[in-house]
Assembly symmetry: C2
């Protein structure tokens, strides 16, 4: 139920200290319901933490990733985005405005198995994203 409390328990269980900065970053990730970049988090919290270093944001996002609280979504040259992990899901991304929408779909187990069989890899995970144009951006088009 209380996602923040659960996240803090995870930190405690894994021996990660709970600092005000970590608390605030987690709080923001959970409440924002989006997929912010490190810099967006940094800027969102600079009112509350005027002296927080951007390195702290990066460091803590890495810590959260390592204990499984967040997933890092990486894209070519641009900034990583961070997703507070609840359940397995994929993403649909707008090529016009960059919006990221959650997309629930069963995991592609069959594909993983075939890949393992064909290539001899020990498969651990996969990545899948859908790209296109969101309804808002489609609406703006000239007809």
């Amino acid at each position: 139920m209380n996602q923040l409390k659960e996240a803090l328990d995870t930190l405690k269980d894994t021996g990660v200290r709970i600092t005000p900065q970590r608390h605030a970053i987690l709080e923001f990730l959970i409440s924002s319901m989006s997929h912010p970049t490190a810099d967006e988090i940094y800027k969102a919290l600079e009112g509350k933490f005027p002296n927080m270093s951007v390195a702290t944001v990066y460091n803590n996002l890495r810590v959260f990733r390592e204990v499984g609280l967040v997933k890092e979504l990486t894209y070519g040259d641009s900034s990583s985005r961070f997703d507070f992990v609840t359940t397995q899901h994929y993403h649909v991304i707008c090529e016009k405005c960059g919006k990221i929408v959650d997309f629930h779909y069963p995991g592609l187990d069959e594909v993983e198995h075939l890949a393992a069989h064909v290539t001899g890899f020990k498969v651990s995970t996969h990545r899948m994203e859908i790209y296109g144009t969101c309804p808002e951006c489609s609406g703006k088009e000239v007809h």
Copy 2:
């Protein structure tokens, strides 16, 4: 049959000048049968073109991408890799050594359609990769 000739024709048809550097980069991409980074291409050709700028490699890879000759494979913070496009395929990537292996599998049309239906996006494409450990890296493990 002759992939290089076809590629050069594509350049001619789209009004892109054929320079020795472009010729050499294409030749390397086709013959290497791998997924090199811009820097790997740059280093591979520095014998033949001691004065070639790394910017030339980047510029031309972008040109090739724009006319559909190559696909850019992007990964978080590390360098993009470039794939001379022949047929649609996916990639299996070793998390230990970084090796990239082609994996032929029918396109995930069903997933694209469902995503379009559920999110209202106009879907244009998708990305899918399998991660794991390659046979060589698995063999090296201590038992």
